[in-house]
Symmetry: C2
Subunit: 355 residues, 2 copies
């Protein structure tokens, strides 16, 4: 059987295509008996609308804006952009027009400036990565005001209302749990653990915080023994020498540390430092498949990276609008991406990873 068309349904239900159309779009003006027959035909024939014909016929154009942090010097956001690009190519054929904006993660003002002229453009949807919480909230409030549906990616701001139509991103808490499990299994039962936060700013981001919470939660569970956990904040991670001394000193002070959980993507600095001070016995967990991390995987055996396919994040995020406008699926759901555990032996498949 080839494509099932509206015409086929009409024939099977003994009505005209106009009636089928009314049923499909809930336009009313259909008798109960006819509606029933049509619905039956739709399900028995397993009808799927031809989206091309649909979008060709109704000829609507949808303008979607995307706003994410600047991706020029950042592998992670570059990957997100790649996913957005892939979805864009797909959606272009269906009457979508995608306009991309970027903002500087470090300069909250830039996002607010953008907001000033953003709403003078007519958009039908917004894909946004609200990494800056305060400014993000302001932006989303403005969206509600302008009746603009939005999908959040990567960072989640808890929202209700009809315009908050989706979230695609990471489950940071869960990734903390996972990191704890990995360390718990792979190190000595008596070994201690070290959590390292590496960030330029002195504040601890919400993602990092949730990761830490998940990590600690794991050892509160009854069937997992408790562990000795210490924490370390590092902001000047770029100077290898300082880092090395810092780390060496710390490991000497807490002799029984045998696993390290780095809550950001900067774990390659730690792995390199450990290599140079000859402490490759430590198991390290870090995040994200950025280039430096991929490099260090082959040198540092006991390293696991937790990856949340950023390409797919951008891709699914944008595709939400495709579903919303073309498939008429109004899905108000959080969608978490798989927590991929990556080590040297399975890294290759994830790297080019459209998956």
């Amino acid at each position: 059987m080839g494509q099932v068309r509206i015409k086929d349904i009409a024939e099977r239900a003994g009505v005209s295509i106009g009636t089928v159309d009314r049923v499909l779009h809930n336009r009313g003006r259909v008798s109960e008996s006819a509606a029933k027959r049509v619905k039956e035909a739709i399900s028995t024939l397993n009808y799927n609308p031809n989206l091309m014909a649909r979008s060709l016929a109704n000829g609507k154009r949808y303008r979607i804006a995307t706003i994410i942090p600047n991706s020029d010097n950042d592998d992670f956001w570059k990957a997100q952009r790649k996913g957005i690009q892939k979805a864009t190519e797909y959606m272009l054929n269906y009457g979508f027009e995608i306009v991309n904006y970027e903002f500087n993660d470090q300069k909250p003002r830039v996002l607010l400036d953008l907001m000033n002229h953003f709403f003078s453009e007519q958009y039908d949807g917004l894909l946004i990565a609200p990494t800056l919480k305060d400014e993000g909230i302001k932006f989303l409030n403005a969206c509600d005001l302008h009746n603009l549906p939005y999908v959040q990616i990567n960072s989640y701001i808890n929202r209700s209302g009809q315009y908050a139509i989706g979230y695609v991103g990471q489950d940071s808490f869960q990734s903390g749990l996972l990191a704890a499990k990995l360390l718990d299994i792979s190190i000595d039962p008596n070994g201690g653990l070290l959590i390292i936060h590496m960030e330029k700013e002195t504040t601890t981001g919400p993602h990092m915080l949730k990761k830490e919470q998940g990590f600690e939660q794991y050892f509160c569970s009854s069937n997992n023994g408790s562990r000795n956990i210490v924490k370390l904040w590092i902001s000047d991670y770029r100077d290898q020498k300082i880092l090395r001394l810092h780390l060496e000193d710390y490991l000497n002070r807490f002799k029984n540390i045998s696993g390290i959980f780095v809550t950001t993507s900067r774990c390659h600095h730690i792995a390199r430092a450990l290599l140079s001070i000859g402490r490759e016995d430590l198991v390290v967990i870090g995040f994200d498949l950025i280039e430096e991390n991929i490099d260090v995987l082959k040198d540092y055996k006991r390293l696991f990276l937790i990856n949340q396919n950023p390409v797919l994040q951008g891709y699914y995020g944008l595709m939400n609008f495709f579903d919303l406008f073309l498939k008429k699926n109004l899905i108000i759901e959080k969608r978490y991406l798989p927590l991929d555990i990556v080590t040297f032996e399975n890294a290759q498949n994830y790297i080019h990873g459209e998956s």
Copy 2:
């Protein structure tokens, strides 16, 4: 600002849409001067063909057959089927017609019987999972004879010729390496390893063999120390009592075993048995996210499942034909799916897992 149509080009070039069409498709029968004007209009107006209208109009139909093992009582093949279904829905809009066949994995005759009438149908492509090697070869030979392009999924039979257009599946050797790495990191440096093959038949399947080879290869590498490795074949794994005694006996004989590598998806039997004899200290590696394995994950902490997204296998396999016929990409390539490491804490995302 809106979509540029061939009609717009025609107007600007002072010709009819028929002439534009001929230029676009190099059909000839156009005067040089007209062709020049049309080409100029195309570039100045920055024309991009509307792919929807194109495929809608062009109306070519491609018939693709799929042949995989019976999926009624098998989670793995059910997932493959799901991926095939997803690709089918996508491709339907582009004029593809997909016809599904299944065969009984245990009865080679069924596949041969199918072959008898299969080629009387006119297909443009075949997606096949040649799990039965001998019969698979016969089938593929017949494909060559009938000029039928084919894509293999899951199992690979080495073939050349213009009709072998792709393979999507597992990298068994690599998954063996990965299993070894996981065990190597997570167990005591002096701990021994046990490889368990669980299969009804007495022969060891090619996948299992390659997994074993990869596993052993890991410990031949210079920077990974060598390990004591013993092997066990189990065919009557359904009787829990026998299995338990069997295992208990074996673990007593080889006292230092601290990690187990099960080369099939039946590792849940092992994990259950270990639970009942109180040996949850052992780290177990197994394969596939089938229901029994997912269940046992929450009870058995030291279990890792290696998953090769079967949904995507079916999906990508079929989509090869989309690329072949619509994008005209003739890709003769092996495509390996990511080796997902799955444990209790990250299982959920992979389960529903279109990913």
